[in-house]
Subunit: 346 residues, 4 copies
């Protein structure tokens, strides 16, 4: 079968992945599941992986098939699999978990001590078929097209996970700030809108992104390149500040906003990860301020996101590309030329 | 009366405060309370205030009497005060709150929109008497000496507040790391020990501090100047990491420990505030890691700490000084020559 | 001024209250506020009070002016009141709190140890003017008519409080059941709809109430007089049950539904209080089931509800009556002849 | 092998179970584990099962081997089991879970949709060997004797689970009431003592149980047969009431205590289940009162309890009996003649 694989780290996106012909995966363990990929979302993280930015954080055996936002059709199952059978359409949580370690027992599947991560530490879905397990697939509701929902497997679940943590702390009358209305941000906005009654302020330097923000439920949009964001938030909140900040960019200039725009006791969620956090300890103390990282989301949260999609609360704008166009997609994302989410359809 | 006042910011601790003769405070509002000070703790923050380190964060009308860890005897009350009367012994929460703003309504008294803070934004307790209000005093249990308990008004409540947040996330079998076993740290340790059954690892470069840590309930102590802390924590936790880190130092080298020693989803509480936090955004994402600031603690938490003291769960080691020795205390603390907590007894 | 007062407990609603001529209230304490009543909602609890059903639970000095859902215009303030001044329009939380006891400090204003409750333990708002305090009034946003919002002071805040507790436990894909779509239930439904993305099933024996439920956000409505509710919930949830049940009736037959329709670990909120809870202890154990009472809501929650109203998320249907019609209202409510909420406009 | 089996429900405890000779269990699925039983605790629930009290709640295929508190030595494992191997000593969580359903994903293993429960819905441990699975066993720390720890598999985990829920709501200065200091209660007391700093009041009609309570950490003990409990709690808490009540009895007279002794917003945990809860709805509303059921505890909580035991925080008093004495144990428990926990050692 065909698979788009990374052979060595490179900054040249035009030639990052090679389309190789390799063997199809087969079931080895009793809970294995093989999925024929109908759609696999391309993520900013794929560019980071190609550049080697994750090599210090996780083991990456090269060559490796990328692609961690996958959905498709089950073609083979291990002998003890009960949840799905051949022909079922599924979305694939990118993490395969053991179900045995303490983290799995607690439902914290992202902290599994024996995990593998499609397209990050093991082969992913930019290929005709992919090996995963019963603990990583979620059957799709009637009428949902796998290629439409695929990006929710990572972009969606990451945005949902951060939004859910924020919603826990947001009351009616409170203010949430969303920084960056791109692939993740526009999902995060819709999740916030569906799950709380706070006022939502969205920041983006692109006018089209701000328009999308309004469609997705933002009450106010701001262009940080033309206004003083801290002054505006101060005015909008009567000097109180924003209880929750969701930073889908994570650049030096966006993390620097946190202590200036957050209310006392406020939280700044670091979801995107381009740059650094750099603040004096005293800034944490004086405002009882928090920087809180977000790493994808649990399996059960992907179930919840699928339920949101099924209710019509979250819509994704996607554009589809053939597997052979994969490096073009990487280049265009690098140049910010992709609108919505690119989905590879092998 | 006598009052030790700051007239201008200085780095010369030998001459930071002047003993002035000023008018005694008097009751003006119906809920005012005047307290004769029996003990007022000297805090590292007092040195920071003298140096002007808080001038950017809060309004400070100079000259101002310092001292935010106060306890004493009520000498005058406003006409609508019911909680205490003349002669009652009290500990004084350093923040005077309005009781009317939304933060006060929620019990988040540290976020009061109309607050004043003894010794930080208004006159404090390094004086014969101090003005506070009914909403800031807590009657002492029988047999508790105000001069013994005074440092709990800030050092104690700050350590307790951080410990309480950590305890909420700590299960038996988890690991908590306490960095810095000084004035705050040794209280934090005792609070953790009283309120959870996690394993506690304490770090301090001073041997006497590590011995104190063991007395206060630490299961393991480490000297960060002689061992690789990350390796030790890794070994102690079977590679899992510490669920909670309480950083009572807040220096560059202590905040840098966080991402290396924390478990997935772990939290590093920034309580001390000497230095900076400096990490790539990706470090927050990869470990779903959090830096969480701590600002003193709520009035109701000071009630809880007084209950802990009354149960014999938390002991303070203090040394007493006369008001006239105040600059000597400042200098000796700067040189790390104070053991336990210095209490001024006007 | 005129005041509708209860002189003795009676089951004769046609003659429950007398319109007396009494002195206007005046400011006595520094935080007192006198409000001219523009609207005062009539509540099922008023009927219960007239019957003496609360005499065993709280002290009630008779004669007493009833009315605990009040809004109006400030006419006089104590000398230390800052939040409002003469002429401001306000909604009045029914409970006057001390701000000093531990419960108040924690934000749990409903548990104030020194409270008084308008129309339940002290004079209420079925009168030209009412005495309350700075800690019990919330300024209204521009353009909100006090007579329109008055019932939120009790019916609204009670429904909101229960909904907020339920929302904390509801994820997308979960099911909430609302029992009784009357004065409180139709507010509770709107609050659930605004603050979570669970599926909502509403039960009511009246067809008009079920239609209102659909308008208020119910996904499914059921008539318990014609279907087997437990079977229906079972089918709707694939045998899983409802995570949260909000019982705005509290009769024997509605509380009996709880263990049958709740999911494992589910909660049944007792908000209405006509009847009894009667279950074997084993029913609590077998399903890890909970019955959870709800008592009005905190001051800060009334702020949140006012924010929801201001956002257009919650609408109240009210009908207005003159103070002289007060016993007619009591009788008609007893006979279930009132649609929406009756508001007395003195 | 020998197995003590229930053939039909009976109230005659002297003859409840028969010692049958049956086939040893064998591994069938890849995650199966067979354990040779070193100790199996006898529980009040075993008496309830023999009487048929669980027949309405769960499916029970008779004849069935009873025994749900098991520990022993692994003798055979399925081919994909990694957590344990032959010869390992383990404690067995009584519930076998699928790891696949949504409840398992959330860590709520007690709500597993495909579970089986040793000694309740499938064969248990009053036998030489028992079949369980990798998801239900926890390796024991060095030096822990399986026969000593066995009762923690149900009595312990149930008491711990309830205590953990209570501890989440208990602050220093609060009061917890423990009703019934028997097999579960004395563990619950030790868990409370290890994990919070609240004041603990223990109730029991037996003097020896009250003495045990004091050893286990109770601050005050009361004999409900000789004092008015509500008056005593009122006096001990300055009229405030107990924030948390843990009812290890669940009889009519103990559940009736709840609304009388609980503070506003208090919770009464129903853990034992002899009798009924019977209260007017208004009692839930007036005190914002809650009755909360407890069903065993999650797998991850049994890990936490094992950690507590390993730390020396919880001690069990047990007496050992041979498998042939099993009906004698049942009879003696019925007559309240067993001190501590009876452990069958096949």
């Amino acid at each position: 079968m065909r698979a788009a694989r990374l052979h060595e780290y490179t900054h040249d996106m035009s030639n990052g992945l090679a389309i190789d012909e390799i063997d199809r995966p087969t079931v080895e363990n009793s809970s294995d599941v093989v999925v024929e990929i109908d759609g696999a979302g391309w993520c900013q993280t794929d560019n980071h992986i190609i550049e080697g930015q994750w090599a210090d954080y996780v083991p990456q055996p090269l060559p490796m098939t990328l692609g961690h936002e996958n959905a498709g059709t089950v073609v083979e199952v291990g002998e003890e699999v009960n949840l799905v059978s051949e022909g079922d359409q599924v979305i694939c949580h990118p993490v395969q978990t053991c179900g045995i370690c303490r983290a799995c027992r607690q439902g914290e599947t992202m902290y599994c001590e024996n995990d593998s991560f499609n397209g990050l530490t093991t082969d992913g879905g930019f290929a005709d078929e992919m090996l995963t397990s019963e603990r990583s697939v979620i059957p799709l509701p009637e009428g949902v097209d796998p290629a439409d929902i695929a990006p929710h497997a990572d972009a969606g679940i990451t945005a949902y996970h951060a939004a859910k943590k924020a919603v826990d702390e947001l009351n009616p009358g409170d203010t949430a700030v969303v920084i960056g209305v791109g692939g993740l941000g526009h999902i995060g906005l819709q999740c916030l809108d569906a799950m709380c009654a706070a006022d939502i302020v969205a920041l983006d330097i692109k006018e089209s992104a701000r328009e999308l923000a309004t469609e997705c439920g933002a009450d106010v949009t701001l262009d940080p390149s033309s206004v003083d964001v801290a002054e505006e938030i101060d005015a909008l909140t009567d000097g109180h500040g924003a209880e929750q900040v969701l930073d889908f960019v994570g650049a030096d200039e966006t993390t620097a906003l946190g202590p200036d725009i957050a209310a006392q006791g406020g939280e700044h969620h670091v979801i995107g990860y381009g740059g650094h956090v750099h603040e004096p300890s005293q800034a944490f103390v004086a405002g009882e301020f928090t920087f809180r990282g977000t790493l994808v989301g649990q399996y059960s949260e992907l179930q919840e996101l699928v339920a949101l999609v099924d209710r019509g609360e979250v819509e994704l704008h996607t554009s589809r590309y053939d597997l052979t166009e994969i490096n073009t997609v990487a280049e265009r994302l690098e140049n910010r030329e992709i609108d919505g989410r690119a989905v590879i359809t092998p």
